[in-house]
Amino acid sequence: MSNPTQSAHYGFAERWLPRLVLAPSFLLTILFVYGFIAWNGYLSFTSSRLLPNFEWAGLVQYQALFESERWWVAVKNLFIFGGLFIGGAMAVGIFLAILLDQKIRGEGALRTIYLYPMALSFIVTGTAWKWMLNPGLGLEKLMHDWGFANFTFDWLVNPDTSIYTVVIAAMWQSSGFVMALFLAGLRGIDDSIIKAAQIDGASLPRIYWKIILPALRPVFFSTLMILCHIAIKSFDLVMALTGGGPGFASDVPATFMYAMAFTRGQTGLGAASATMMLMTVAAIVVPYLYSELRGNRNA
């Protein structure tokens, strides 16, 4: 009965087929993610200008990067933007999710409305936002037309505040998605917990704050990850809305890197800034991945 072909088949299916199936993706990732990261890392130690070259130049690019005022503006903006955007999108998203969880009539329609910005490219909505935020065309003019002559809303064109308009638009785009994630999480929570808490005499806000939201910790973390990643990679948004301007007041690392590597012949400097970005990302993501995967193994 037991014949060698069968046992060979068993060995193959069990051991090699899964690896074989995973292999293309694995190789693509190694080559196109890690290979390119390495490539970029190497470039950051060269004197590459217009096009990449591979002459070793040591740390000059990093030195130039750290001396560049524009880079530090970009870094500062990333923190301002990242902090406000993540906090804001999270707060708005959670708030809306909780509101929507109150057995609302027309929930489906509202959900779609909150979610649809996620469907749009900023290349598309950037035009509308630019227009709305522009003092001479948009909201400020509207308010003036309506007779509120003292109303000013010139954040877009003010170098001190232009980064905040990016925050507003980014929140508009992503908070609906946060809402969807948390709504999904809320729906997964056992009703009996709420009932138990109500019997204990807790008020609804207290129940959410003390019992339900803590139970959504995993959702919270995955959302945080997604938002972090959007924040660090935010590029289209800034390009479409302010172009990094006025001047370079709303530059973020992604636009900085793009400008250096592509618009200006400073590929090496761009590579150095990209390496810094990657290291930031790694510092946030690697511990998370580590704990996440360890957790799964225990489960």
Partner: protein, 282 residues
């Protein structure tokens, strides 16, 4: 009192809805106005008469650089690009997720972590080396090249989605199927795939949106006749005579956004449902 709170609740939800709808409203209203109406009215005013002229122009006769064929050709380019890219990246993601959740082996978790980290790579980093690689393969500046790029950088998220969904499918099902004599592929095709509808919807919607909306790869890895719609839109919006035709710009923007909006409006509930079905963890 509860009645009051109920009212406040709906009020808050409606205010939020207005915030989300405002840009869309502005775009739609503007696209339906003539230039004269735009000058006369303000941001929010309704068109005095509805005109689809701007839509027609944006679709078939607006200029993007020297070519004045509207967005039409770009639109079809995007369609030709997005369909294979979404299908391939979804298929690969499903297979990866299946292996990583149900056929783990020594090192599979590490592989997952490696693939996952790919989600976070800033795309600007890969532009130049990718260009070189595409050149070597002879698919630079073609739709095939764009599809390849989107597949590669979509893998991380599709794998993540599928893997997290499949983790919640009980292992006993796989065991039962193996005792029933089903092998790797049969289990995948007959047991797993039929159970994957919710997550497939999520991934399809996600990938479709991401790829359709991409601008960076589009502008960099396409040439004259393979440019996707976002690039066409950008050219159109930045191609201006001394009069900026906001109505045409807005129509063009809406045309570019229409497929994704429709997907969300009609399939959005599957998206939320799929997220509920387990994609949240991760």
């Amino acid at each position: 009192m509860p009645k009051f709170w109920r009212g406040a609740l709906y009020a808050a939800l409606l205010v939020a809805a207005l915030y989300y709808l405002l840009p869309l409203y502005v775009m739609v209203v503007t696209s339906l106005k003539t230039m004269d109406q735009i000058r006369a009215g303000n941001l929010l005013s309704l068109p005095t008469s509805i005109s689809f002229e701007a839509w027609g122009k944006a679709w078939s006769s607006a200029c993007t650089g020297v070519d004045c064929g509207g967005l039409q050709p770009f639109f079809w380019n995007s369609v030709r690009m997005v369909i294979p890219a979404v299908l391939i990246s979804t298929t690969l993601g499903a297979l990866n997720g299946y292996v990583l959740s149900k056929w783990r082996f020594r090192g599979s978790e590490l592989t997952f972590a490696l693939i996952l980290f790919g989600v976070f790579i800033p795309f600007q980093v890969v532009l130049l080396p990718m260009a070189q690689t595409l050149g070597w393969f002879g698919i630079a500046n073609s739709i095939a090249g764009l599809v390849t790029v989107h597949v590669i950088y979509g893998l991380a998220s599709t794998t993540l989605f599928f893997r997290n969904y499949y983790v919640s499918i009980p292992d006993e099902l796989i065991k039962a199927a193996r005792l029933d004599g089903a092998g790797f592929w049969r289990i995948f095709l007959r047991i797993i795939i039929p159970m994957s509808t919710p997550i497939i919807m999520v991934v399809l919607i996600w990938q479709f949106t991401q790829i359709w909306n991409d601008f960076l790869f589009g502008v960099v890895f396409s040439a004259g006749d393979s440019k996707p719609i976002t690039v066409g839109l950008n050219n159109l919006a930045n191609t201006s005579t001394s009069v900026k035709e906001y109505n045409v710009d807005m129509s063009a923007a809406l045309i570019a956004a229409l497929p994704t909006i429709l997907v969300y409006v009609f399939a959005g509930k599957y998206f939320v449902r799929g997220l509920t079905a387990g994609a949240v963890k991760g």
